[in-house]
Symmetry: C2
Subunit: 421 residues, 2 copies
């Protein structure tokens, strides 16, 4: 499509596709097939629309920026990537979970190795993009050096280096939703899920309702990042210990260290437990999920903060969840039932040390068939001052704690800062 000099005409735009409209049938996807060629590639690219076999397109939300780049003329719409040297630095799978259509429904298990397993399609000019990328990095969180100074962590020179530098394998995972599987997780009919997804997003992708033959959806939402500390092979070795923290994004704490919640301190504690486990011959896994503010977004989160701090009696543990419900209609919108998919993709069947107090995450893992041996709470001395309200409210609501669960009287007495302090 060239940049037009006259007013555009809409007549060549297909607003909503319907099954069987084009003569060429897209490559079928047989979700859950362990043989990649039998499963079929996920084709979300737009360079040859007739080959597309999914609803939506790749790169999630960033497709909007890609559209801007094309509209402004800085990117060619028909650009095809050169994937030389981009292949994964370590190999993951295949594992038995990859062929269990109940274990993985929200990512493509072959997403990292498309260049390898779909070579035949590339030779036929199919434009297939990876939805998973695996690299290595050195990371440095200032708290790790503090932990070394305090004797909590030891430098071993291989995993944890001098100056608190930590060697990790890191993996970015974009969402790929198999709609029949997502519907099963939600315990609703697929047709109903498609209808609600279409209507409640303001009419995003009519193909959700017009193309029941397309069973895979690339939703424009954030994905996951996995940080592996220690030997990747130890993840599936039953004789080695595995530590895991599954962490939902909280920009205000994770980056800026806001003291109203425990997110960054708990993340750091998770990294510490992963390092200790790796140094003892096991391995640690941190999964970072892009679900800001319990998947309500930051605008809603800040509105709730104001409501909590201004309510009669001030910010207190016994009214913690009520304020979120008043504003958002729910306490939480993260829907943890999809979260274990990435753990199954890694071949995890047993977690020795789960660094999380969330009952929702624990239940989702256990219900998906993962054995959890030990649950590790955030140490009391890591809880920021203003976050006592959150942690007490969550403990009372069912979060794991090795301590006494706060009762109604205790909850009413745990208070946070006011907005003027």
């Amino acid at each position: 499509m060239e940049k037009p000099t006259t007013t555009s005409k809409y007549k060549h735009i297909v607003l909503t596709s319907h099954p069987g409209r084009t003569s060429q049938k897209p490559v079928p996807i047989h979700w859950g097939e362990i043989d990649a060629m039998k499963r079929g590639p996920i084709i979300g690219t737009l360079t040859n629309p007739a080959q597309k076999n999914v609803i939506g397109t790749h790169s999630g939300s960033y497709s909007v920026y890609r559209a801007l780049a094309i509209a402004s003329g800085s990117l060619q719409a028909n650009h095809r990537p050169d994937f030389t040297n981009t292949s994964p630095v370590v190999h993951i799978g295949p594992y038995p979970s990859w062929s269990d259509p109940d274990k993985i429904v929200s990512l493509d298990p072959f997403g990292a190795v498309v260049g390898e397993v779909f070579q035949e399609y590339y030779q036929k000019e199919y434009d297939i993009r990876p939805t998973i990328a695996i690299t290595k990095a050195h990371i440095n969180m200032p708290e790790l050096q503090d932990a070394v100074n305090q004797g909590i962590l030891q430098v071993d020179g291989k995993i944890l280096k001098e100056n608190g530098n930590l060697v990790v394998t890191k993996i970015a995972v974009d969402p790929v939703w198999y709609l029949p599987g997502i519907a099963k997780r939600l315990n609703v009919k697929e047709s109903y899920l498609r209808q609600v997804l279409f209507q409640q997003t303001g009419g995003m992708f009519p193909e959700l309702v017009t193309r029941p033959d397309l069973q895979v959806f690339l939703p424009p939402i954030g994905g996951n990042t996995v940080y592996i500390i220690g030997d990747v092979a130890a993840i599936t070795d039953p004789d080695k210990l595995l530590a895991v923290r599954v962490h939902d994004e909280c920009n205000g704490s994770d980056v800026f260290g806001s003291d109203i919640c425990t997110c960054r301190p708990y993340l750091v504690h998770g990294v510490e437990v992963c390092i200790q486990t790796a140094q003892a011959g096991g391995v640690g896994v941190i999964v970072y999920l892009r679900k800001e503010g319990r998947a309500l977004g930051e605008v809603t989160k800040f509105l709730v903060y104001n409501a909590r701090k201004r309510q009669e009696g001030g910010d207190r543990a016994d009214a913690y969840f009520t304020r979120t419900e008043c504003v958002a209609g729910v306490q939480d919108m993260r829907f943890q039932e999809l979260m274990p998919d990435v753990l199954h993709w890694l071949g995890i069947t047993r977690i020795d040390r789960l660094v999380s107090m969330s009952d929702m995450k624990y239940n989702a893992m256990v219900n998906s068939g993962i054995q959890v041996i030990e649950r590790i709470a955030i140490p009391d001395d890591r809880i920021p001052e203003d976050a006592q309200v959150e942690i007490a409210a969550k403990q009372a609501a069912g979060y794991y704690t090795p301590n006494t669960v706060p009762d109604a009287i205790a909850l009413s007495q745990i208070k946070g800062r006011t907005l003027s302090e």
Copy 2:
């Protein structure tokens, strides 16, 4: 819509709306009007579809999670929020820029005060949601306490407290795009922009092409967070100094401290400059924009890391941009031309200390009418070891530096770590 027990019927679903289809005309939006009632409210909610006057819906990407919550039965589709006590903790504007349709095209200037300025509509049962939320917080980045210990920062007890606690006003801003204005920024026809946005997102929102009467689009992309350090009123006081850092999200560095780039260290330096400016009677502003990996996303970013580290001759400054271009087709997809909007919303017309070396950001600001007095580079001793490649390549490509710009020979000699190190 009730959760059906039988197979859903599609017959009541409107796939694509067209102008004039409903009898009730939506409230018109007159973008750039300084009087909120004349401008008209942004109505993106789905509780009464006939009242909707935008393309898309609110909460960006999180509308997908909202749909899941509704499909699973945990959220009522007709939930209406109770906004008691959620109003902004400080007042921003109105400023002359609010009525200049060229200055602000990607956010709603009235987004924080809808409850105040659109009371008449609320009384008529319109469901209008804030797109901006303003709260206060205490944040703590471990590097700030280190800076106090090193004498770089002083505790004043009001802005910077003991233990490195920093008092901030923070603002979450969701994107609201006025399409004629966005097209003008891209220097293309609005009809062409709409066509490309529709096609290159894989057919997201047919209303982009069928509803030219709806000029406002709520794109499912991340927004901005603004952190204000010091007195908010000083931002628009010509006698007070203003420091600004505009920071594009980089989860790997911002949260985990990856040493391949300068993101977190530069962000921390920006916060330090903001604190020093505020302590001297001025004010500091950090804008955090959700544009992971140059708005290419993390999967592309990690693929590029592998390609850089594995290319012949290793990771080096003279081949830094080439690898991104090979994979992504562009060096950068951030489109900085929309970025100054949030600065104009804050009433900024002059930045005394711009903590950024990016020529793209600088040019976007200056071209939008903001005067920039001083540009502050990241101090050399804050550049992580493996990030020398990035910073040298950027300096050679036009980034601001107070030092000598590296020449071709220097660029070919600046190398990064291999993947096996």
